[in-house]
């Protein structure tokens, strides 16, 4: 009886040791495979066509319909307009990046394609105030574009 038990234990032990060797073989296999990572700040992954980064605006296309502002789930867009006769013109187009959740609903709902999602994704700043930006400002993305992949 004891002998059978002993043989069983030894057998389990050998199976266990073999499983460990199989594990070692798996890790050794990957030592000789090329790395899959990128050296981030110097190499960058190209973003897809549909990538949703910061919100961008083509002011000339905007018809001031307020659809984007109504759609935004986090209320990060704030628009004001001037009324001249029957023509509406944009006055301000505030975009509070701090609240933005990059859902892309505003771009989807825009009837003229004035709002787009850019591919800027490195959006850390040192000052919180810089996150509240006016999309009509021509230099609005100077803080980030130099790091963006175009």
């Amino acid at each position: 009886m004891a002998v059978i038990k002993m043989i069983k234990h030894t057998k389990n032990f050998v199976i266990g040791a073999w499983s460990l060797i199989k594990g070692l073989a798996v890790t050794m296999k990957y030592v000789f495979r090329p790395a899959v990572t990128l050296q981030y700040p110097t190499e960058k992954q190209p973003m897809s066509e549909r990538f949703r980064g910061l919100v961008g605006l083509h002011p000339e296309k905007c018809i001031v319909c307020y659809q984007c502002m109504k759609m935004c789930p986090t209320a990060c867009l704030a628009i004001t307009h001037k009324q001249e006769d029957k023509k509406k013109t944009l006055e301000t187009f505030k975009y509070n990046m701090e609240l933005c959740c990059f859902c892309g609903m505003c771009a989807q709902v825009c009837p003229t394609g004035a709002i787009v999602m850019t591919d800027i994704y490195e959006i850390s700043v040192y000052d919180r105030k810089k996150l509240d930006i006016n999309l009509l400002d021509a230099k609005k993305y100077d803080e980030w574009t130099h790091t963006s992949v175009k």
């Binding site: 199976i15 266990g16 040791a17 499983s19 460990l20 199989k22 594990g23 073989a25 798996v26 890790t27 990957y30 899959v36 973003m47 897809s48 066509e49 549909r50 990538f51 949703r52 659809q67 109504k70 759609m71 935004c72 789930p73 959740c101 990059f102 859902c103 892309g104 609903m105 989807q108 709902v109 999602m117």
Partner: protein, 373 residues
Amino acid sequence: MDTTRTKDIYTEEFLINMGPQHPSTHGVLSLELKLDGEIIRECTPHIGYLHRSMEKIAENRTYTQFIPFTDRLDYVASMNNNLGYVMAVEKLLNLEVSERAKYIRVIVAELNRIASHLIAVGTFAQDLGAFATPLFYCFREREKIIDIFDRICGNRLTYNYIRIGGVQFDLPKGIDEKIKEFIKYMRPKVDDYDNLLTYNAIFLARSKNIGVLPKDLAINYSVTGPSLRASGVKWDLRKDEPYLVYNKFEFDIPIGENGDSWDRYKIRIEEIRQSLRIVEQAIDALPGGEPAVKVGRIHKPAPSEAYFRTENPRGELGFYIVSDGSMYPYRLKIRAPSFSNLAVLPELVKGVKIADIVCVLGSFDVLMGEIDR
């Protein structure tokens, strides 16, 4: 306090707070442990550190506006959350979506299930002390899925892709080749995990017969998903209450024998294989047509209520929506699978070692974003 005092030397239980900042509590879970040396006498979970009052937020958003918020519930399986919520709203609206949309939904949901299970497997190995290597392998494979999602919907974690009435975009050109390539790439990798972890002697010693969850207890605690199937209950909503087009595909439901930590892990590995099968069949059978039914931006369902549950990677995710006829939900309840799965933890860890609590918790693969909501 239980003290056994002899003349000068005495021992007593001591209290240890595991979390909310702890490497293996999967986020901000806090466990109050009463220890007798290394052995756990009592475990009290404290949750709510990530409570963002999603249900209150939902009462203030339109039905469409709430979709991005569902991404943030179970943030490693956003597609499945989008799906669960959107299906509940569609049930409320009595909306039928196109056949193509259904197939696309199945493909993305199953791909996301694989991604989520990969994280579960990697972090479980990490919890057992296989430091970083399996986790990195899993993330390497997950990255391929993320790349596919990046091309499909434009984001890498919070997808916000599935919409009421269909999906946001049609699949981009050439993505089906990419998905097929991924399936071909993924199959041998799962075998690698088997060699590296599943049948590894140390791994088996650590996870076999630890945290055994019997069948009746699992059902009584309303444990769902892979954790329930590991206890030997053959219950999968994709088979038992098929939604979308799951009844058109051939796949098996893996079930465990003992309901221990190893079984819960093994079920996930097997489900990765089954999901690959489903994706393969769905890609081949993808019909043409419109990816979305034209519906407005604002929905005003008749005053009624709907409960719909889907099979999430972690279990059954249910949305209970009450409408009062306005464009906002009157009440939205999220039945999070991890919430019920975590509730069973104190029962399972009485009398195990401190190293095993990490193993049991890891095998349930709970996610605090979903529990705290």
